[in-house]
């Protein structure tokens, strides 16, 4: 089996890459910085004896991202699974984000992600199980005052995955997207959150255990599905007060 983990050097992405290496997958992992990519690729090669290629690319610049990922994809060849664990958020994302920062955020959370899918679509194995696994957020449930562009990007990504599911009907490609709750990563470190944070290792284990599941959107932890229903049906006036 061969898999690609975009954003595989930290958080959930790193744990997914590790879990795949344990299962013997050959890997292509990407990360923003070469030092992190080198450290992760060496660690996985040495510990698990699998083939690992690394690529340092910055998803906030979609033009360079597309060019360099395209070249790496051609070199890596046929794949089974594509994991898209990239994303970016900012405390300043409250509606007044500077244009260049807004474009970078849009690229990291949406554009680069769907471009990666476009790039790899021709490399999915025709004879073995294949899948694209994307990551949304509970922030995408409803419009909000904080993480404005982040939430909008994730909602757009969900729409793309809905389309991908339809396009892939009748093929061996599944399109799974997870709405993740609070995960215990660097981004959430030190934050006081209303619900418990989940260990990224646990998230990775769950995702790898469901690779043969059907296409569609799933929540993790699952209780977020109930919270999402409540958040959606709350009348606008009350929701505004909750957001203030």
């Amino acid at each position: 089996m061969k898999s690609v983990v975009i954003g595989g050097t930290a958080g959930v992405g790193r744990e997914i890459a590790t879990a795949l290496a344990v299962k013997g997958h050959s890997l292509l992992i990407t990360g923003k910085d070469m030092e992190d990519v080198d450290a992760c690729t060496m660690d996985l090669r040495l510990r698990y004896g699998v083939q690992v290629q690394g690529l340092a690319i910055d998803a906030s610049n979609s033009t360079i991202f597309i060019r360099e990922l395209g070249a790496a994809a051609a070199n890596f060849g046929e794949i089974n699974y594509l994991f898209l664990t990239i994303g970016a958020s900012s405390e300043e994302d409250t509606g007044d984000l500077q244009i260049e920062n807004a474009i970078a955020m849009l690229s990291s959370n949406f554009l680069a992600t769907i471009m990666a899918i476009q790039i790899f679509r021709i490399y999915f194995s025709k004879s073995e199980p294949t899948g694209v696994i994307g990551f949304s957020s509970v922030a995408a449930i409803r419009g909000r005052k904080k993480n404005v562009i982040y939430a909008a990007s994730k909602r757009a990504l969900e729409s793309y995955f809905e389309s991908l599911e339809l396009i892939s009907q009748g093929t061996n490609l599944s399109a799974q997207i997870y709405r993740l709750g609070f995960i215990d990563t660097y981004q959430a470190y030190g934050q006081r959150l209303p619900f418990p944070k989940v260990n990224p290792k646990k998230v990775a284990k769950m995702i790898i255990g469901r690779l043969d599941a059907a296409s569609g959107i799933s929540y993790y932890p699952r209780y977020w599905q109930l919270i999402a229903i409540v958040v959606k049906i709350v009348p606008l006036q009350i929701f505004k007060k909750m957001n203030s």
Binding site: T9, A10, G11, G31, K32, D33, E35, D36, D38, A39, C40, M42, D43, L46, R47, T185, Y186, Q187, Y189, G190, Q191
Partner: protein, 454 residues
């Protein structure tokens, strides 16, 4: 100094030394990318934190930012021909051990629990199972990468930045953040270790036996029963382990069991331990320990992991020591005075009605310098519970240690007074001077460094 680190995520956490002697609410950061190191504050106090298992509060201080290395736990390089391995400082011993053993190598010098980080071992220049034969952890360190906000990333080895290399190995984290370490491992002679125990009737004969056997064993330590009085005081056993000869047992397991120890913390400890721990219960436990280990008399085969990390099977001991905490007092004494000091210790402890829960010895060799716990003599450790009476015993231990010309292990004691460290370590002034020459702001501070005035 107020912690000023706007570019790095921080949380407040209640931290305590492993002996529960020091408790503080401290700021912690947990970087997970190399670029985060550049965001560590340039003008705020800080200190590295590995597993957080130090007995001496070496990884936190109220006004310092503790920077966790938990996410920097990767293996960066390995040469299967030479056994050289490079790892990030946050890697735990058991994780590295599992990798090395699978490749036919091991680290002979390791402390007794696999949850301890490599960075912590370098910083405290710990000793292993036979210091006389192997030396301290420094012997295994080829080079390391150190990050200091004022100096950037520095490559240190015996050939490059040698002064800073020796200041960092055994420098208790005060020179900067150790990012990675290149280590010389040894070929694993066998996956099986055979341990033989030999009984001794008193403290004098025990130390004599330990000294006689130390050069012959791969791992060796003595265990003493300090609950006994009179002539039997300090009786016990010397445990001597050697790697099994390859052809000794044709049926040796071909695959070594991988080690995944339970987490070793200080939060889950027995409440009101002082109601249970007394001379009678300790005496009963010691008798049971002797009985259990009598099977070792003829030689007990065990996995290398069990020999290197014996505390994995003794974690209940720390629960038993209670939530109020305990003292570990580990000292290095010259061989000609060790028995006298330990006999007097027993008399004072008995008079104060303080049960000694553990007493154990090793033989040390080599030269001592700066503030590392090394040199020639008998290394001896005792444990006892925290109490008002224990403070009286500690005063006696400290003042007599100076009189007997001994040295305390700085990393094992969260309350050791500055004047005792100064009286016992003649090069402590040189350590301070070298540290200030490198870091005039003295950015790296822990409760331990503040207490000892380092």
């Amino acid at each position: 100094m107020k912690i000023n680190a706007p570019e790095i995520s921080i949380k407040q956490e209640n931290l305590s030394s492993f002996d529960n002697g020091v408790k503080s609410t401290c700021a912690i950061a947990q970087p997970d990318r190399y670029r985060h190191w550049a965001s560590t504050p340039r003008d705020s106090y800080q200190i590295s934190r590995g597993a957080g298992l130090s007995l001496s509060a070496a990884s936190f201080e109220t006004e310092s930012l503790s920077v966790s290395h938990n996410k920097f736990n990767r293996i960066l390089d390995f040469d299967s021909a030479t056994g050289e391995v490079e790892v990030e400082a946050g890697i735990r011993l058991f994780s590295l051990h599992n990798f090395l053993v699978a490749n036919g190598y091991f680290l002979p010098i390791q402390p007794g629990h696999g949850q301890i980080s490599i960075g912590g071992c370098v910083a405290a220049d710990i000793h292993g199972k036979n210091q006389l034969k192997d030396g301290n952890f420094l012997e295994q360190v080829i080079s390391l990468k150190l990050f200091h906000p004022s100096h950037g990333i520095l490559n240190l080895s015996r050939a490059s930045n040698a002064d800073l290399f020796f200041l960092t190995c055994g420098g208790y984290g005060l020179t900067g953040h150790i990012l990675s370490v290149r280590l010389q491992t040894q070929v694993l002679p066998s996956q099986i270790v055979v341990t033989r125990a030999q009984r001794f009737p008193d403290i004098d004969s025990g130390l004599q036996l330990l000294n006689n056997e130390a050069t012959k064993a791969d791992f060796i330590h003595s265990w003493h029963d300090f609950s006994q009085t009179g002539k039997k005081y300090g009786s016990g056993m010397v445990f001597m382990s050697n790697f099994e000869a390859i052809d000794e047992h044709a049926g040796s397991p071909s695959k070594t069991r991988s080690v995944v120890p339970k987490s070793l913390g200080n939060r889950h400890r027995m409440p009101a331990a002082n109601l249970v721990v007394n001379r009678f219960s300790i005496s009963a436990l010691n008798s049971a320990y002797k009985r259990i280990n009598s099977t070792n008399m003829k030689g007990k085969r065990s996995d290398i992991a069990d020999a290197l990390f014996p505390i994995h099977h003794l974690q209940g001991y720390y629960y038993f020591l209670g939530s109020h905490g305990f003292h570990e007092y580990q000292i290095l004494l010259s061989k000609d005075v060790a028995a006298d000091y330990l006999k007097q210790l027993g008399a004072v402890a008995a008079e104060l009605k303080i049960p000694i829960t553990l007493a154990s010895g090793k033989i040390f060799g080599g030269q001592q310098n700066l503030i590392r716990f090394s040199g020639e003599g008998v290394c001896f450790a005792v444990n006892f519970l925290r109490s008002t009476q224990a403070n009286v015993l500690l005063e006696w231990l400290d003042s007599n240690l100076v009189l007997f010309g001994g040295k305390p292990n700085l990393i094992k004691d969260s309350r050791l007074p500055r004047q005792i460290a100064e009286a016992c370590y003649p090069e402590i002034g040189e350590f301070r001077m070298k540290l200030r020459n490198f870091d005039s702001k003295r950015l790296f501070r822990s409760q331990m460094s503040e207490r000892l005035g380092l």
